[in-house]
Amino acid sequence: MSLDTVKNALEHPGVEQPFAELGLKPDEYTRIREILGRRPTSSELAMYSVMWSEHCSYKSSKVHLRQFGDKMPENDAMLVGIGENAGVVDVGQGYAVTFKVESHNHPSYVEPYQGAATGIGGIVRDILAMGARPVAVMDPLRFGAAEHPDTRRVLPGVVAGIGGYGNCLGLPNIGGEIVFDPCYQGNPLVNALCVGVMKHEDIHLAQASGAGNLVILYGARTGGDGIGGVSVLASETFTENDGGGSGPAKRPAVQVGDPFQEKLLIECTLELFREHLVAGIQDLGGAGLSCATSELASAGSGGMRVELDTVPLRDHTLSPEEILMSESQERMCAIVEPAHVARFMEICDKWDVIATVVGEVTEGDRLEIFWHGEQIVDVPPRTVAHEGPVYERPYARPQWQDTLQADAAERLPRPGTAEELKATLLKVVASPNLADKSWVTAQYDKYVLGNTVLAQPEDSGMVRIDEESGLGVALATDGNGRFCKLDPYTGAQLALAEAYRNVATTGAKPLAVTDCLNFGSPEDPAVMWQFAETTRGLADACQILGTPVTGGNVSFYNQTGETAIHPTPVVGVLGVIDDVERRTPIGFAEEGQIILLLGDTHEELSGSAWAQVAHDHLGGLPPKVDLERERLLAEILIAGSRDGMIDAAHDLADGGLAQALVEACLTGGNGARVVLAEDLDPTVALFSESAGRAIVAVPRSEELRFSDMCKVRGLPCARIGVVDGDTLDFQGHFTVALDEVRAAHEGTLKGLFG
């Protein structure tokens, strides 16, 4: 195929171009022609197609995501907000923390191991590009039904990929979630979160300014992997036609990661930062060079000239279009002043990282790309990177929503006898969603780097960031797709409330939020309604809790045919703790501790784990959210931890009080004697998932001081039992040996995947 230059595009305006195959709609193609005043060259078309994909341009979500800025709460801690590679938050003592959660759903379904591995690689480079040293990762995962054969293909691959890449990189994996639901069959959600630490003065931004500064591409060579991953893989629905039928076969855009190369890239980049050699930086992820060059130029003064034939290649047959679209992993792009180039190269050489000057920042406002001297791209970079199409997609509350909400789980039959109640408890805590997740988390290195103080199964992961003072950060991710299906507005708020509560339970003060919004097709008005409600709910709740959204990611097209996944916003909350010595674990470690239940329990069983396990039921309305209550509960939990009043604390969520007690007992290795509230039906007392609740264990000597504090602040606090023995004894109902509970709780995943 001959080279399609800008000159050629002017001379031959009538050439038919394969815009539809590249994922562009006819009106988008027309707009590109209007912007350029001519037909695009094939290289320009390639760039626009990937950058205007749903994945890169947020064209369907943008109008809704604006709320996160418009409703942003006052927060002095925020140093860098939405729009950069990741948000940055001040955590005190001169430290700043950057964190973000992203999806790698579609690649992980096609090739579980590499998809999950490169998901980790991508989010780690995002954090690195902000100037921070990555210190930990987390993985919120969703799979199809646990017993489905395809889950047996996808889950072990994903888990091995996360472990393989993260462990090689030397980053601890401190938590996440594993959820099973038939709605994720064929659409597993593989989200990855990374957190990094830096000093305030180390913050770096993705922009190219200063004419004459050089554009340096460094890291791995560019190959033909993952071409068009964002446009054709992550931005459309899979159909039966793929690979057969009349349409063009979509080549699975799989990338293979190399964690050792990434490790070199991290150390090399951090040394470059230390010597102040970098004026602007961007990682190469989705849309590869198209994205890095256009975003850097667009965020800077606008002008950039790139000699594409200087890009080091793994495969010399690649065309310029393919080089622009390649998603080869482990690459970064830096803007460097000419005086610093020699030292820059020296450092890259030391780390065995290939670095090449591929272009320079220019005076003008055009991004110009050349191939062996001939111009193949001449575009205003903003039109590629930041001014892509914006859609006001139609949305409508689906017809079935009322029927679904009317079908409440509170009407379902409940266990009638003590024996049935006991059997139900064992069944609930052994169900795949609530069972012990060690089979998975044991494959991740949780303690590498030596700063992990809390990891799964604790409520949040916590790492120390300053050895002297003990300053640390805590992170939790949550998202309940079942609640969101029942009511996306409330469901999103519940996800935030739970992550917020989880952070506070460990003694850290929640500061900021990142979110990964996983949905079906935005072209379906019902899905778009779910999305609109979710963002509205989340933005409203962030405003009340005072925790701004600092960044995140949207993943659409998680659906097979007409069937979308449950709307699944995964919300990550970051908190700070002055001294990690003060952290609160979940386990009941000592006999004689008093167990207190904080918050109110209502008859709220719809969408609960109990409804799913006992009746395979989803209907009704999710639990109510009271954000002021969540804030009060958090303040009490943080104060209790700071003043040394609490020995253990555990938030109540999926599986209610039953699950919380079982986890606290098993983790601590002690049983408990518990009295259930007499005014509640035992099923409600045990399995209701009312929000704004936690259990705490306090030493006898602190019981009065703690309950007085709750009373003064107006937080309901009930003494429900005492840590004791090797059974879980619900007085007046049933007793079950801890060993029996342990066997049920810990045997499930081993049995399914082991």
Binding site: A220, P252, Q255, V256, G257, D315
Partner: protein, 85 residues
């Protein structure tokens, strides 16, 4: 007894970190002039019966579904002759 060999290689466009590591090591050890290295896997399958079309079809099926990950790998099935052994 017949032997069938299945060679599995990463597809050309897929990154091969192992091959690259080998390639980087070669000049350090004094082996110059090698411009690229790709590393693959070789399976040697000993068959009970004769190597007929049906047997080969079964092996191709095994290669496709189990020995190779066809999302990122290609494979070639061939019968090994006596001399090759």
């Amino acid at each position: 007894m017949a032997r069938v060999v299945v060679d599995v290689m990463l597809k050309p466009e897929i990154l091969d970190p192992q091959g690259q590591a080998v390639q980087r090591a070669l000049p350090r050890l004094g082996f110059d002039g090698i411009t690229d290295v790709r590393q693959g896997k070789r399976f040697e399958l000993e068959l009970e019966g004769p190597v007929d079309e049906a047997a080969l079809a079964r092996i191709r099926e095994a290669a496709e579904s189990f020995l190779a990950n066809t999302v990122i790998e290609d494979f070639v099935v061939r019968v090994e002759t006596e001399e090759e052994k």
